[in-house]
């Protein structure tokens, strides 16, 4: 039945930055979610659900100020400030430090749900969908390699074929920058956070870093490749923190090969992100043609301590919109068009027949209005059904549209 009243854009509009997933897309999204969760669970990660709204003080404890500014905020009835969640690692950390504090460690948790931003970066939607896994209470390369391998395995199962993982370590830069004065370090970190290598060069020129170290920072992102770059990088730095980072990356790489994920991995000593959040091995997953990472993650040993529960932790988050754009062949959504079940006068005849079909796993839809063969055939063609069943007091007639 087609609407005869003209569509009213004001009545059917949405707030900017929010989209509907229509039939087909929504089913594919559901399949993608199930595939991801099934993989997380296969690795022993158990599902946790945190709310869409948190106390602002909770998210402030964990998030970057710039990300905080982008959030939807509102006041609770008692005046306390609330925020819609922009990511879910911090809420999961809040739950771990709270109700899950007594749980035996290490704790493997996974989550999935919408995320919101009121003032997103240009061109981004205000609602996103993120799935992630957190490994809490485990330090060291075995845990670091596990979450990277989990990301590779999950994306592969989702049917993403062309992607690569860039694995780095914040300690490599951290070691170099540990020698800087506080104000110099701030300038350098600002430039790095802004991805501004022009500013970085100017900031470095004021420091007394050795030329080799400046070159390392500036040659970014050239400092990437297979395990052979670790040796080259090792010869250029002379501080223990950078050396430890290089050693750890080497071990993570070796373990990723054992996971069978070695072919996907590039080591990237230039990978710098969110310094005061990440504390060790970090990674991002890229695919050609998608301008932002499909997934990202790393070690964030300081976060749980801010909730009063000092524990090492690492994790990964996947951005479902971007993964869905590349995920092929995961659709579990019924491809089969429904059988249209019609009746000659009494809908009960059709309802009984449809119930039998569904018991046999066949998708069946009851046609409410009585029809004869020609009418039901026409409806079946309109609905895209390849089969229809006309039910009357004297039996059922199979109709092929």
């Amino acid at each position: 039945m087609k609407a005869t009243v003209k569509q009213d854009p004001a009545a059917t509009g949405r707030p900017p930055g929010f989209v509907d997933l229509l039939p087909g897309q929504a089913g594919r999204r559901r399949d993608l979610e199930q595939t991801m969760l099934a993989r997380f669970e296969a690795w022993g990660y158990r599902l946790i659900e945190t709310p869409a709204v948190e106390l602002l003080s909770t998210v402030e404890t964990g998030m970057q100020p710039a990300a905080l500014q982008r959030l939807f905020k509102m006041a609770d009835t008692d005046g306390r400030m609330l925020a819609m969640v922009g990511e879910r690692t911090v809420p999961v950390a809040r739950a771990v430090a709270g109700q899950l504090r007594q749980a035996p460690l290490p704790l493997r948790l996974c989550y999935l749900g919408p995320t919101f931003e009121g003032h997103p970066a240009a061109g981004r939607a205000r609602q996103g969908f993120q799935a992630g896994a957190e490994l809490v209470g485990a330090a060291g390369p075995v845990a670091d390699a596990e979450v990277v391998a989990l990301a590779v395995d999950t994306l592969t199962r989702c049917g993403v074929t062309d992607f690569q993982v860039e694995v780095g370590h914040v300690g490599f830069f951290g070691g170099i920058m540990g020698r800087l004065e506080e104000d110099q370090r701030e300038l350098v970190l600002d430039a790095l956070a802004g991805r501004d290598l022009v500013e970085l060069e100017a900031a470095l020129a004021q420091t007394d870093l050795r030329a080799a170290e400046q070159e390392l920072l500036l040659r970014f992102p050239a400092l990437r490749g297979d395990a052979s770059i670790l040796e080259a990088a090792g010869s250029l730095v002379d501080n223990p923190e950078s050396a430890a980072a290089i050693a750890e990356l080497g071990e993570v790489h070796r373990l990723l090969e054992a996971h069978g994920a070695g072919g996907r991995v590039n080591l990237d000593l230039g990978a710098v992100r969110d310094f005061d959040y990440y504390s060790g091995v970090i990674f991002e997953v890229f695919a050609p043609g998608i301008g932002s990472p499909l997934a990202a993650g790393g070690r964030y040993d300081g976060l749980l301590e801010r909730f009063g529960y000092p524990q090492p932790a690492t994790g990964v988050v996947m951005f479902l919109e971007r993964v869905q754009a590349l995920a092929s062949g995961v659709s579990l959504e019924p491809q089969q068009a429904p059988v249209l079940v019609g009746h000659r006068g009494d809908p009960a005849d059709a309802i009984r027949a449809a119930a039998e079909l569904r018991r046999d796993g066949i998708v069946a839809v009851v046609e409410a209005v009585a029809a004869e063969e020609a009418g039901l055939r026409a409806r079946a063609i309109e609905q895209g059904s390849r089969r229809a069943l006309l039910c009357g007091p004297d039996g059922r007639t199979e109709i092929t549209p």
Partner: protein, 213 residues
Amino acid sequence: MITMAIPTGYLLPGALAVLRTAGLADLQVEDLGRRLVVDVNSQLRLITVRPQDVPVYVDHGSADLGIVGKDALWETERVHYELVDLAFGACRLVMAVPEKSPIGPLENWPPFLRAATKYTAASRRFFTSRAQDVELIKLYGSVELGPLTGLADCVVDLTATGNTLRANHLREVVEVGRSTARLIANQVSLRTSGPAVQELVSRMRTAAQTAPA
């Protein structure tokens, strides 16, 4: 194939000059005409877009690299990498007031200022850093008219030579920022396109250091 977004307008000749010096593309402004897409060879495609749109194409990954004035980057929240100062197209963002205004570089600022500007983000950062209360009036053209018509106490605008300011009886008070053309890159292209992008970037870097500004 690497796609590079280059800006139409006053930066275009300089952008083409850097590409020429780098040995990447030998094109004159006339060669482009009205073409928006130029396949230089099987490795490089140039797209010409409005200067403010360059970071949009790059951030979304529709272009791997872009040449753009720093002034256009001030106003965007960046997800791209700013790689090289290409050293041409120099201009300054300045705060200027009518010649007779008592406002000086450091003194006699009223507690509350009205400033007309196209560069609201850069202006806001500047005034915030000086703890100056300000109402920013966003204009899209002829910002100099703001103080002359009583719309604003001052302007924050780009100047290359200072001629426009002088012609409108405005006096520079303080420099807010400096801009030159920059080479920017999409965060993913930088990693997934492998050595081809790196090679191109390093040739541009060398060209920027050798070319006359």
